[in-house]
Each structure stands twice: as C-alpha cells, then as structure tokens.
Point group: D3
Chain length 317, copies 6
C-alpha cells in the first residue's frame, strides 16, 4: 500500500549541455520528467511511499524511463505497450532574454491510449492520496475519460484526491482546458494552481489571497494552494488563508520546481503538518530543487530541515 499514487505521462527529456542550442548540439543529456512522477519523487524523498502509474512502450526508451524512476525509489507500476510511442521533450536551458524553451515531441504516446481498466484500481483505492495534473487530460480524449474514472474510483475508495492545474499552452487552448478541467473539479479535494492560470484560464480575478478564497468557496475544495513563483504561495484551508514566501535560490534548473513544491506539501500533510507548516517545507523544497539539474528533487530530509532552520552558506567539511 502506497501513501501516494500518481498517474500521468513521464517523458524522456533530452537537453544540450549548458546553454547550447538544439540547432547545433552534438550531444544531449538524457533524463526523464513528468509532473506526476516528479511529485511522487519529491514526496518519496520526505518519507512517503510513492507509486507512479502509467503506460509505456515495450522498448529501450520505455525501459529507460522506468529505470530512472525506479532509481529514485518510487514504484513504477506500468502497463507495457506494444503500441504507441515514448513521449519525449527537448529542453533548451537559457538565461534571459532568450529564456528556456521546451519542444514537445509527445504525440501518439503509449500513455495516450491508457484506460482505467488497464490498471489495478485497488492500488488507487488503497492509497492515502491519489494525484494527477491537468496535463494528463490534455493528452487525449481517452485520457480525459481515464482521468475522470480514476478520480471517481479514488473518491469511492475514500482516497484523498489532489490535482495540479498545470495549464500547458502548447497542448491545448485556455477554453478547452477550462471546460475539461472544471468538470473534474467536483472530484478533487486538494487543488494546486498557479495564480496566472487561475486568472487567464479560469478567468478569476483578484490578488492571490482572493484567488484562493474564491476557488475554495466556488468549487468546494477542502484545500487550495495558489502558487506565485518567486513571490511564494498562498494556502486556503478551513476558510483560512495562509501566506508563504519563497526562499532565495541559485537556480540551476527551474523545471520541476512546482512539482517539488506540491510533492513536499502533500508528504508533509500526510505526516500531520498543518497547512502553514506544510507550505513552509514545500517552499524550502522548491528552493532546493532549483539548485539541482533535471526534473527530480533529489533532496534529503536533513538538507530540507537545514534550509527551514536557516542553516546555510558554508562549504560543509
């Protein structure tokens, strides 16, 4: 039995070293990444047992993805498929004004054909939390249905459902996203959403405190976390709003920051933290993640405690 079960696509992530351009690269670093497995990894680093459900091609590329996720100590409970591709994405890291850029190459991936009945639904129903994101239903019509079915099953099994809104403009339009995702809201207990998405996709107005409050009241969530990047986050729970600032950090890799935040928040909540404490650990986790190349938040609990305790700055030797 896992504390957290996640469902979604994990892609092969191919990036040129340093700030090289894809157009002229002669080598690519290979890693893997996906919002749901990133969350599972972050939660697992803080002591939760975490699993990731997905459908991957029976190929060296599919095995590559599963192998790396297993190395992080999470359980990869996958359906091996003879059809469908391994989704990939190309990441170009760059400073401003160029900015990092993602090139998706994920159409027709194996996971886009995944149906709820292909999975052992009891795994979800026996977990304490089931987690997925707004990326999953953006991938295919089949996955919209699968996501809805899994959330329904979780609710039936008494499992808390958590959801990161995660709007991706390269996958669908704001209108499609709003229509699809708000239909899933009734089945969701904990919503994480960027302030920007709340405004531009859902059309809600106000400062982050107001956004959290309005979302929580309007859609009957138990908990809403509104994230604001380098300006911190706001948590709404039991009709109370809590603010959390962001820790300063020397960013090496911004990809996966939000997932580290969410994974830590969920793991700490499972451990019994109240919302403001969980938000503080989540913010520290996010700051540490940004110092680490790749999507995964390879942080230790000691490191996390040290940041929260404001213990820093020297070479430790």
């Amino acid at each position: 039995m896992s504390d957290i079960v996640t469902f979604g696509e994990t892609m092969l992530r191919l990036s040129p070293p340093g700030n090289e351009r894809l157009e002229s690269a002669t080598e690519l670093e290979v890693r893997v990444g996906g919002a749901e497995s990133n969350v599972a990894i972050a939660a697992s680093r803080l002591g939760a047992t975490a699993a990731w459900l997905s459908k991957v091609p029976e190929s060296p590329l599919g095995r590559r993805v599963v192998s790396e996720l297993r190395s992080y100590g999470i359980e990869a409970d996958v359906v091996w498929s003879r059809h469908g591709r391994q989704g990939t994405y190309y990441l170009e890291n760059a400073g401003e004004p160029r900015g990092s850029n993602v090139v998706y190459d994920r159409e027709n991936s194996a996971v886009s054909t995944a149906k709820a009945q292909e999975f052992d639904i009891e795994r979800i129903q026996n977990a304490r939390v089931f987690f997925t994101t707004g990326i999953t239903p953006a991938l295919s019509t089949t996955l919209r249905e699968t996501t809805a079915n899994m959330l329904k099953a979780a609710r039936q099994g008494g499992t808390t459902t958590a959801f990161d809104f995660n709007y991706r403009r390269k996958l669908w339009s704001p209108e499609e996203a709003r229509e699809t995702l708000t239909q899933l809201f009734p089945g969701i207990d904990v919503l994480v959403i960027a302030a920007r998405d709340a405004r531009t996709v859902l059309g809600i107005e106000g400062d982050p405190r107001q956004l959290a409050h309005r979302l929580g009241s309007q859609f009957d969530f138990t908990t809403v976390v509104v994230t604001r990047g380098s300006e911190g986050a706001v948590g709404w729970h039991d009709s109370v709003v809590h603010e959390q600032g962001a820790y300063e950090t020397d960013t090496v890799s911004p990809v996966g920051t939000g997932d580290a935040f969410t994974g830590a928040f969920l793991a700490r909540r499972l451990d019994g933290d109240d919302v403001p404490t969980a938000l503080e650990y989540a913010a520290a986790m996010a700051a540490l993640k940004r110092t680490i190349p790749g999507d995964a938040a390879l942080v230790t609990r000691d490191e996390l405690e040290a940041v929260v305790a404001e213990d820093g700055q020297q070479i430790s030797r």
Copy 2:
C-alpha cells in the same frame, strides 16, 4: 543545376557513446542520417554537386538536420512545415552476439505529407541523376504517390533515375514492398539492391551474378548493382556482369556503408568511369566509410585514390 538530386527523409540520429545501452544511457550523441542524403554526401565528396529535397518541421530539430547536411556541402532544398514531426532514430552500437540495433521513432514526420507539387520539379529535371530509395515510399501513402510522380518527372526531363531498393522490415512487409516497388521499376534506370532483398522480397533465385542478370533482363534497367556486404558486389550493364570484391576494413560504424557505395558509384559514373571502375571506387568508398563514425562518408578524394592504389598502413607524418 546539380549533378545529383536526391529525395527522402533524413532523421535525427541519437546514439549512446560507445557500446552503452539506450536503457541506461545518460548521454546521446546527435547526428543525422538518411539513405538519400547519405548518397548525396558521398557523391559530393567525389566532386559532384549534390542536392537533397525534403520536407522538415520548422523547429530546432528540423533546423538541426538541415544545418548538419549543409555542413557537408550539399544543398538542402527543403519545404519548411508547421505540421508533422522530425523523424528520429536511436542507434545502439554493439558487437556480436548482441549486434547493433535501430529503434525508429519516425511516424507522422513532416516528410510523410510531402507532395511532388510542393517542390520545384525543374530542379529534378535539370539534374543529371535523380535518386531515391525504397524507404521513401515505405513511409506513407502520400509518399508512394510522390515518389512515382518524381520518377515520372525525371524521366520526362531526360534525367537518369537511380534507385536503391533498401528494404526495411521495420517499415513494411515483404509483400507490400514487392508490390509497391516493382510498380516503380519501369521508371528506373539504375537499380541497386542487396542480394538478400532480391531473394527474400522479390523472390528471385540464383547466385549474385544470376540475380543481377535476371533483374536487368526482367525489368529493363540499364544498370543493376547487386550488393553482397563483405563479399563485394556485382554490376550488370550492357548485358555484361562485373564482379567487385570488398576491401578489408576496421569497422567503427557500419551504418551508411551501402549509401557511401552507391553515392560513389553514381558520382564516378557521372565522371565517365565505366561500370567496373566505378564499382572499384564504390567498394573503396564503402571501406573508408566504415572507419568513420556516423552516417556520412566524410572521405577525401586523395584518401579514396590511396585505397584504390593500395597505399596504406602507416601513420602519415
């Protein structure tokens, strides 16, 4: 005006360093490769002006492919497409008994939607040779029609047509290949085919000399070259069969050997060589190619002459 115009798909080629497995690779070397552009490169190294026609996505990956091909001095005359993927393939180099392995990830590529009318057909009609391979019509129904139309246009323009049979079992069945490709045969002047394909796809029997003779007589080609890997090749022309042995070589990368052979054969024929002389240079080119990483035969004419003159073995200093 180019001496040789080729048409086909060039893929991004991703391979782990050395003999690493894809399943555990943390870095991939990036190159590009495709039978038709490989042939254009080889011909160009021997002094022919060569062009490659294709359709590639308007993306960093499409630009990567075009950029590398341009670096080899061939003209990349491409239709930039907002739709369709950049085809990729993953290559694992390995010795026996594992053997090298190719994982294709090339479905729904931009080129699979290419129609003859998207290209400047006069480029083909003004060339001395038009070249494509059996891979191109294997990629999509659209491309079957496009290939036929281009061969037809070439014939109309008085351009010699050359074709490498190149059966790929990961793309289609022998039956599909036979049916499609034999329909193209009437439009082809020069056929290059592996003895193995002649037997298992076309169902022709006999030793290589007989295969060449039977193909030449049956389908009315002007020239037939039957290749036999490390056992050399056989050329049929004007009803005469010529045998050519293979040069010994320290193989670093076998991919692209046949394309180097064909590119050199065509370039030397354009230069006025008779068939046996062109076969000798083609065999030398193939041997040199195998000492070079990647698909492209980055050979100089001096090196080629030295091999044919059997001048070898010392460090040149």
Copy 3:
C-alpha cells in the same frame, strides 16, 4: 516474496574512459558492481523477482549504490549505517599485454560489520533461492559468521542455497579461503566454481568433468557448475555431467561475465529448465554481457532467445 534473495557487498566502481590509465585520468565513469547484486540483476532480467540484502552507509555514496541497483528493477533491502565506508573499486580497462586491472579500496566498509540479526531473515526463508559468494566471508570475520548464519537460516526455511566460490587473491590467501569456504559447503545446494579455483584453492585435480564430479561426490552438493571462461562450462547434477561451450563474443567489458552466467542459470532453473538447457541460456547470457559496459547484464529475454536461436549479425532495422 522474491524468487531469489542475494546477500553481499556492492561497490562503487570508478573507471577511466576507454583505456586511459588511472594515473593520468581526469574523469572517471561511475557505476556500481558486486557479484551478488550482479547475479540478482541477471536473474531479474529473465523474469525472476530478485532482492539484494546489504548494509550501506547513510551517505551520498551509499545512496548512489542503492539508486543504481533499484534502476535495474531489483529490490535493494538495505540496512542504512552511520558507520563504515562505502566500498569502492577502480577498474582500468586494457587490452593485452597490459590487461585490465582492479584496485580495491573496500576496507572497513559498512557491510563488513553486518550481522544476520540486522536483516529480516524471513525474507531469506520465504525465497526460493538464497545466493551469496566466496567474496562475502572474505571481507571480515563478522561476515564469515553472518554468511554461515544466513545459509543455516535458508536451509531451515527450506530455501535452496546457491554459492559462487569466487576466490579473490587480493582479499585472502588460498589457504584461508579453502579453510573458510569448505566449512560452508555442507550448507550449500548449488555450487558454481571456476576450474582454476577448484585446482589452485581446493587442490582438486582432473579435467573439468572430473572436477565437477569429484566436487559433487565429495561435498554432497545437488548441483555443481564448473566454469572455464572462453572454453565453456560443465554442469554436474544427479550424477550426470553436461558440457556447454561458450558463445563467441566481441568483448567490451569482461567484468561480471561469471555473474551473468550464474544469474541466468539460477533463473532458468527456477523456471523449470533442466541443467543442460539452463547452461545453454547461461552461456548465451554471459556472451551478451561481454558486449555491455559495466557489471550489469542489461539483456532482454528477446535478445537472449535470439542468441540461443543463432539469429545474429545484421543491424536490426
């Protein structure tokens, strides 16, 4: 419940790229390796569920070892220790006459203090096979006792015990090894031993068939496998001796060949193969392993079947 549970040390393996010398290396490739986990990995590749028990330091280096083993899909069930080092070894790959060389740096490792009672002995008793090697008791006096206790527990639980003799002259003298290891023999069902070790450590004489027969009769094993490197292996079982030749192979990395052989032999025996069939798959696994960098036999069942079916030699595309 695992099919196979193994116990032993897995080291961090540091090797210069290519054939560089350690003395002048500026980069080291990092992998992990240990006879027992190598065997677990090989067995797991053929479908067995496999676990590895050990004691590792609570440090980035200990986590590095566990992380890579997990990536191979085996269960790493370790005692995390605040004391003791992570054992390391440096491997210099070289051709003849230099030859590859291993520099051990494994003294005072965490595992050398491991006692049987620190582990969940039921894991061993619920497995179908328990496996360790002659390296484990060579590491410390504590481990001699631990090895004996684990073999005893396995026997009590009805678990088949398998043991690779694996004499390492950099760890102890032939006399010490003989005395210690023959005391363990009564608790062992399946012995794997190199012909060379049988002769120079145990002082048994004869050709490999005789060695297998004499070992089997003298010490009451159920199965004895005598390995002979590039000359194949001999299996003794039910008083019958079976010979198995070695497959030809392009060696990239010889380290771990014997472990691949043993892991495959055990997995196939668990699957119901008779001894000669299991030996054939073991020999094929060993040949494939040698084409793969690192200690781990990252082979698929399809690849293994292809070798046994003598299907080879072409680029698969």
Copy 4:
C-alpha cells in the same frame, strides 16, 4: 546574388570547457569564429542571403572552418590554398577579476596572402552590401592592399560598403591602425566603431553623440554607429543622432556580441528599417547572442521579435 558579401579571416576557436585554464585543460571545445563571418551569420538569421569570402588551407582544419560556416546557412566562397596555415585562437572564458583571455595563433595564415584578383570580384559588385573590418588589414601588408582593392571595386559596382573599425591591440599599434584605417575611410559608407577605439586610436574626443557626429562630419560617411557595450549605442545618419540602450542579458559568451549587433543592423537596414529601428533590433540581437555559447548568433526571428516586444522570462512550454 547575395544581399551581403563579407571578406576576412575566420579562425578555428579552441576553448577549454567552462572556466578551465588552458594550462591544465585536457579537452578543448572546437568552434570557429571571425568578425566578418559572424556578421554574415547574424544577417543571414534575419533573412538576408549572406556570403563570406576568404582563403583557407586545403587541410582538415580548413575544411573544419568551411563546414561549420556552411552549417549556418551562409555561402562560403573560398580559395583553397596549398600554402599558409589555418589561423587559430584559444579562448579562456573567465569571470572577474580574471576575465576572459584570447591567445592568438594566427600568423602566416593562408588568408594573409589573399589578393583581390583571386576572388570573383563580380560577387562583391553584385551584392547590396560589402562588409569587412579593421582586423583584415591588420593581418598582413598584402591584406591591406586587398582590402583597399575590394572596397574600391565595391564602390565601382555601386555596392554599399560597411566597415567595423574593430581595433585589436594584439595585432598592431594604435598608430599603425589609425594610419592604415583612415586611408580606407573615403571608400566606406557605413562605419561601426567602439567609443573606446574612436577615442584611443583615432584621438577623437567627446561623449558618444559627439563622437558619432564628429566622425560622420569629418570623414563623409553616410552612417556612423558608435557602440558602447553595456551602455548601448549611438547612430548618426542624415546629420541626426539616435540613441539606443542595451538590453539586460545573462551572459554566457560575450565573444561575437558586436558582430551580432552589426549583422542585425545591416540586415534590418537592407529590409528597409530606418536607423533607430535597426538599432533596436541590433541591440536585441546582441543581448540574445550573449546567451549563446560560441561566436555565432544562432537566433531566430521569432526570438528577436519576442525580445523587442518585451515578451520574456517564463519557460516556454
């Protein structure tokens, strides 16, 4: 017919990874760079057809230079020479207070013997702009004459002449530079010059606006651009002075910034922009170039437009 034809030396550029010192480097990254080809590349990225004329050794090093330039889509129209070296430079990237350092190894290069009559002068006369820099005449007495002859031919052909002053103290003294370059001024339409060079080499005084004005009036240029590094640039045209600020940028590689600026300025002027608009795009191009390793400004028009439109900062996904 090219929009822009440039003439000058492009060197092999060898630099240790990261901030390593040449003194202890064990690997060097290989790129190519030269002011004139850098300008051609930048112009080409914005849609201009661009060519680079030079003389390079018939050797793998000469081919290396031509190959990379071709990959950027510019035409490399070179005289292949059996005499003379391939110029190289070693670049050590470093932060302050060490600072980056260039070690030139470019004496007796093939290009230093290049005479105007070796080139197809009609290429220059059919172009819209001919461009070279103050580095070219600094390389040899022969090149001083060649530069003068080419500028003269361009003027005769009605081609606009553009010139970057580019004083290099490792190549010649301020006195030599002043004497040589001011003799070329009458043949130049568009001058680009660093404020520092205007002051220390030409001895002109005043703020950048005054420098631009004085240069323009005194030497009868049609356009003068005075560059000021991180403080922007000033353009003088039709007796009017325009100021342009610099965009903030996360610098990865400063080499080639000025060339990116100049190439963009010329390309936008060719496209019909007035001077202040061309300066704005030039400044944006310069900022983007600094985020890219190497000399070449591998920027897309979309990226450039996004910077000018102040669209920034997020990971694009």
Copy 5:
C-alpha cells in the same frame, strides 16, 4: 633547497560535473587537493620554490596525486608506502540554499602512519619556511606527534614555521582541536586562522582586530592573520594591526581560497613585502583562485599584478 616546505595529506578529489548530485552522478571529475600542497602551489606561482612532503600509497591512485602535483611545478618528495589507502574526498558543488558539500573518505590513509624519521628532515631545516595546518594532526595520533616533531626540527634549523589553524568539524571536536593545537602554538611563528575558528574553537572574543591582537599577545606569535572570507582579513605584526578588504570575484570554485591566500602571503613575505602589501597580494590571489575550477591557484604573476593594479573587465585580445 626550497623556499617553502610543506607537510600534509593531499587527497584525490572526485566531483560530479556542474551541480550534479553524487547520488545520481555517472561521471566524476578527478583532481587532487590538500591544504598544504595548495599553499605550496600558490607560493610557487609567485616564484617561490616549493616542496610538499607526504606519504602516499604505491598504487595508481598515489601516483595520480603525485603526478598532478608535479604538473604544478612543485617538488613532491614522498615516501611510497605499501600500506594504507589514498585518502579521497567527494565534492558536490552547489549554490544556495543547498551549498557545496564535502564527503570525506580519508580514514586509514598512508599518510596517517607517517613518522618524522621517514623524511629527510634536513629538507625542512634548510628551507626558509616550513608550513603545515591543523588538518594534519587531526588525522591520527601518529601525525600529532609527527607534526610536533617537524615543527621542533624546523625551529632547531632556524626555519620560520607557519601554520594554518584550519579546523575541520568532520575530523574532530572543537575540544580535541583546541587541546592539540594550542600545544603546538609555542613552536609556531606565523599563524593564519579564520575568525570563526578563533571564536568557536579557541573561545577568543572580539572583533577581528581584537582576535588578531589577543592571539598574537597571548601565544607569542610573530605574525597572526585572521581571515574573514568575503569581508577580508586582518594582519597583526610587530604589535600593529593591518586591515585588508576582499576583492569582488565571480566564484566558480571556492575550495582552496584560503590556501591561495596563505600561499601568496607567505611567498610575498619571503620576497620582502611588508605585511600590508603581502595581505593585498594575498587577497588578490584569493579572488583570482575563485574563478578557477579545482583546488589549485593556477594564477600567473601578470594576472595578479593586473588585479592589484585594478586593470580588469575586458576580453583581452
């Protein structure tokens, strides 16, 4: 005869590229580092002849250490040992809030058994300065005695003794350090100590000026330098206190900064500089070192002079 003779351990230093984590690294960069040899290198760069005494294992790892130190032009006068390990350390470079981290793996190193009589003590007695640090006696009881004996011998030979306090909390407790090191103080002429160590280990109070004054008066040193990281340093000599600020620097590698400072201070004092001048050069050396990967301060005298003369900021070409 050397100007400076140092004694201590130099470790193999293994670090993942960039900001990778050890836990997931697949490659490690290999360098060597140790406080005493770092000081010898820094002094040598400024023209002093410098030697390093130590005891290293007769193994590829021991040779690796000696080889790199020799490459820096210092004399490595070592006792080759058949017993004892080569000490290693793993360095993870990271920004805040993670921070860089050192994992020591240096127990039972060959040097920990080194006795004074194994060395040619006349080398120390003929030198102008003998230098070691508080790390050396922290490594073993034997080394405590050896350190004391060497300091005694130096004093007897009229050699100036210099000592960097260098408290390492991963090696011993503050109490042990204080007791051991204050016993060595009577034999020391020049003490370098971090303000933090003076406070937390020695229990001295006050601002840096007071710390320097109190240490100098209390223990009868001729010179005391109190270092304050990015806030500079304070020197006490002849009862006068001198303050020196730190130069701004783009830090690439902080390890070895203090050693660069101390080596430069000693070399400049040997060259006749007074204390404030030597401190200025020491501060400049420290700033330059931080721009250089690895422990060694590979700085030239020209570069050092340029920093002191505030000559900076441009690419030098």
Copy 6:
C-alpha cells in the same frame, strides 16, 4: 645530475575522440608529445632520472606542455621565450584502410630558434646519455647547428650520445635528411633507425641484420638498433647481431611506440643489461605502450616484468 638528457621539440597534440574526423570534430583531446620527451618519459618509468631541454613560448600553451611533462616525473629544463609559437599537431586516429593521420602545425615554433648557448651545457656533459633525434635538425637551420653543437659538447664531456634517425617526410626530403644526418653520425655512439629509413633515406640494402651490420661498420657506431615495427628489431653491438621479436598487443595508440622502445633500451643499458636483454625489455615496453592512449609510455616496472615473464590475460583482482 640526470642519467639521460634529451633535447627536442614537444608539441601540443590535439586529437578528436575515438575515430572522429578533424573536419567534423566538436571536441579535441589535449595531450603533448615529442620524440625526445617521449624517450625521457619511458626511460624515467624504468628508474632513470631523465631531463628534457627545450625552448617554449611564455604562454598558456607553453605552460601546458611543460606542465604535462612535469607530471610524468621528468625534469623540464626549458628556456622561456617571448617569441615563436608553440608547435602543435593534430592527430586523427583511424583503422585501415583510412589509417591514422598527422597534421603538423609547427612552423616558426619557439624551439626552432634555440641555440646551444641558451642552455646550461654542463647538464649535458654531466649526464650519462645525451639523446636527440633526426626530427630536431629537420626543424630549422638554427637547430641543425644547435644539434651538432650539443652532440659535440656531449662527446667532449664524455657523455654517451644516442640518436634516433626518425625521418619525417612531412618535414624534409630524403636527400636533405641524408646529407644533414650523416654529417652528425661521427658524433653519435648509439643509433636507432627504422629499416625503412635505412633503405629509402640512406640507400643501404639488405635484410635487417645486414642493415645493422653495414651501418655499424660504415659509420663507426658502438651500437646500432634497426627497428622493424611488428616484426621486431635487430641490435648490432661489438660486431654481433641480436634479433628480437615483437610482442603481440591490442593497439589503442601507435604513436610513441618507437620512443617507448628506445627509452626502455637506453634505460636498461644504463642499468647494466647486455644488448639482447635490453632489446627484450624494449620490445615489451613498446607492446605495453600501444595499449595506452597518448604518446607517453605510462608503464610500471612491475607491468614490464610481468610481460617479459609472460604473465598475462586475466583481470587482476
């Protein structure tokens, strides 16, 4: 006082990884190599104290060369020059039929201006052996005189003179070489020469035994060694001819094989070996060198003894 003092040029050696072509390389491995320093290194590995005299530019490239040579434990006693380049060479490693290729870029190097009086001639006169090669006088007229003067000084000081003929066709014609080098012969005691050079440059005829005999008699050498690559060598001494076969070897890098042979031969002769014994060790050294990347024979005496004792083939662990 050194056992062996050598004089000559050591170049920076730049080579693409693996079998990449220079024409398309994006990285180069940096090493250093030169016949005379290669010989010094090989001799030093066998216990001789060895020095290398040369003139190198005061630049990061000159320091790079000296630094690496120092790392091998030889004394680099160089004149630092403000004029002249650092000689470089580019090495492309390739198998047959391509073959490895060297591109020299060594004209106008600092060493080409070296005069005997710039060096401390007593160093040569106090050595037991002075060694240089036919490459040195091929580099400049100045060096022809310098070589003659150094040989003369050595003879006057009673130092044995050893000389490797080393004809390089990329540096001079056979006629020039013959004329210049035979004039040096009267000052040479020990000559090493390839059979091929004896025939094609000196015009001597016969089998290797005859070549050695004729050279020894005709020019009054005390010892002549005629090398024959993979067919071994022949030594002539005291009018007796000794034959030595070559050891089989897995070649990784052939460059420097002859230098390893010569360095070992000289070192063993200095140690008292008779000619046939020294030839045997020289042949073993040459075989070991070929397993090691780079020019330097980084071999240990233990490894050499093991080869001579025919102890081989297993992984040593």
